[in-house]
Subunit: 241 residues, 4 copies
Amino acid sequence: MIQEGARVILVGEGREYYVRAGKGTLSTDLGTLDLTVLIGASPGDEVATHIGKTFRVRTPRAIDYFAHASRSGAPMLPKDIGTVIAYTGMNRSDDVLDAGTGSGIAAIYFGGIARSVRTYEVRAEFARQAAKNIEDAGLGNVQVVAGDVLEAAGTYDVVHLDMQIGEAHIAHAHALLRPGGFLACYTPFIEQMTQAMDAASRLYAEVHTYEMQEREMTRSARGTRPATRVGHSGYITIARR
Amino acid sequence: MIQEGARVILVGEGREYYVRAGKGTLSTDLGTLDLTVLIGASPGDEVATHIGKTFRVRTPRAIDYFAHASRSGAPMLPKDIGTVIAYTGMNRSDDVLDAGTGSGIAAIYFGGIARSVRTYEVRAEFARQAAKNIEDAGLGNVQVVAGDVLEAAGTYDVVHLDMQIGEAHIAHAHALLRPGGFLACYTPFIEQMTQAMDAASRLYAEVHTYEMQEREMTRSARGTRPATRVGHSGYITIARR
Amino acid sequence: MIQEGARVILVGEGREYYVRAGKGTLSTDLGTLDLTVLIGASPGDEVATHIGKTFRVRTPRAIDYFAHASRSGAPMLPKDIGTVIAYTGMNRSDDVLDAGTGSGIAAIYFGGIARSVRTYEVRAEFARQAAKNIEDAGLGNVQVVAGDVLEAAGTYDVVHLDMQIGEAHIAHAHALLRPGGFLACYTPFIEQMTQAMDAASRLYAEVHTYEMQEREMTRSARGTRPATRVGHSGYITIARR
Amino acid sequence: MIQEGARVILVGEGREYYVRAGKGTLSTDLGTLDLTVLIGASPGDEVATHIGKTFRVRTPRAIDYFAHASRSGAPMLPKDIGTVIAYTGMNRSDDVLDAGTGSGIAAIYFGGIARSVRTYEVRAEFARQAAKNIEDAGLGNVQVVAGDVLEAAGTYDVVHLDMQIGEAHIAHAHALLRPGGFLACYTPFIEQMTQAMDAASRLYAEVHTYEMQEREMTRSARGTRPATRVGHSGYITIARR
């Protein structure tokens, strides 16, 4: 049952709205909706605008925060977040250290899976925004720190870095990782990738770098084919302590 | 602390062994090791063979089961499992229905993340082997059923199918999914993909199909470049109820 | 030495113009240019606008017609034309039959290489436009026919089809090909591709289908990486008689 | 009509042989064949072994030399040769300078298209082997030079380098190219690619680098899908004078 203040997705008529249950009004080209009606509603319920158009209620999942949460830059894509999760084997027993919080999308994903996530963001404004997104996601196990990840202490199963990564960060991650734990570095450029590979290779036992080229397949009356878009986002270097 | 009977990975000297703590001996070209010494050991500990070669102790993570668990066919690749997790936003509150258990690798991944996993496998021998792998992974929340997924009941947040998928399966998944929940279909061939896309499009609100082309990047004294291997595994169709 | 009426490319100041030597004026934001000065000029010469900005003279090559010739639709991309040339081994002794002329870009490429090209286009308006482009390219060995390729006679070393390809076209190509000659079918959609593969497999000894994923690499002060664009154009089926 | 000493391809029964018309015998598991019968034969003719198995006669095309000519290393792939041809717009009026002859396959392709090809190979043994391959291809317009391409003189429309490329080579190519002509550099590694891009960008007006990812599509009773192989060969940098 949806609480006051909770994030809600409304879907229907080919539209999708990201709203908050409680005082306020959603104005659409299909009429307006009093958002207090969402308090106490359940996923799958239908709510109607003043002209009788209905939308279905959805409680957001991680992928919805990727689509709708406030952004302070381009967040990591689901394909890349999925790669980090899969190659590190992230699970509910894990303590995760994350840095380069950005909008907090990766932290929301990790927070839905891991026991705890501590995420560092040096830009205070970004950290504040990410903390709001994470609060919207209802994740009490994710802590946003406005500061430098080099100051992080503790022990972790997975360290994930999506930032300008220096040798010091890779060494610091090594010091904080439990034996068998994983470092994952996301780097958009080749030069950053090779730097991360080299620095990690000096300290870690196993280092692999991947690029995921995602192709969406399209299907219409004319036929089926790969979409004519996208390509590169970044390289993911996975190193194991 | 490692219990008797638990799976352990031993790494060192460029080798990796998947063993069980307890009675028994590991024979390697670097000497033999009494596996009872692993009982009570901790990750990161070193153990030595009779000729003094040391291996480090590691407790397995999902990615290790992909590498080492007994296989009854080619399991889904980490890149594809990660795609399912990311596009469905799988998390610790989820109840997951899985079918086409195979070796149980996807179920092990999902079981480490979700609240519960119920996985169906029609081939009894495969189901038995998968159940052993899942037990080795120490996952009490994953139930293997030797039977047809069309007989599954209950409600789920994610349904994942890696099998010969017919229209009935896609409809049955729809009936079992919670509102806002996701169906993920893995299909190696284009014909299976278009069938899944078409059947899902008739019932689900949003249907997207992805292919992930994974490239590993290699780096040596000669230089850096993509590896000259791999390509295709399968297509992943994600449909939302 | 450039003749009156010949196509000329003018390059400079980050701009590129596709003009015709002779009467007329080119108006640019960098001044105007009397195009009669191009008559008798040579590639590499510089010509100046009335405000003294200079452009270099270039005689067009096939790739320039791809960039600048009048289009009656999306022409085949260089990557795909190159694939046809490479997998058929097209050379100066070849007689080439082409169909689906479109804007004539593939025919211009083939005409620069082969002994003769005969290209069929059922849409008369397209055929007219293509004939103009081909004339601009100065190719006397390329004949545009406004009609159905099923009416083509003669013998050929390479048959290239970029159109709605039916079984009849694939059979007709087989009848016209010299022993050891090649059929190349360009098909944007998977359904067309499998149809072409199946029809060709019944008649031809060797059938292979390729997709070329082109990635442009970018390099800036920030670093080097693949461009974040493109993907799919079409499939190329190569069959040998 | 096939002359004595000419290269011939024999195909049939799922086999393919690369032989020479004239004295000699081909021994196969389907019987032996007196190769003098090929003198005077025509493409498409059938010849029979002593046990009556027939093979069809084919005169080789460029793609056949790629498959069958003696190799002194891994030659450039057709996909990459096609890219060079397409992005340079290579045609029958061109004079081409080639370096890093290797087995001569690219030179055979270029020789079948261009007016003249001059190809440099520093390793004398490779140059000798390439010259034999080129002679087998019957190309009188291709000259193999055992030496350093920096000693090349003349003017060219296209310069193609498949070798360790230094700044001097890129500058020398610039000096030899006609206005509007193209330099194409093939480099397997990223470091070589960025070096070529940087050196070319200092001298040439337009510089683009491409990678072609070729996927073969497979089709069987089980279905259609991309082949699970290949990936990377090299990067192609195209610079225009």
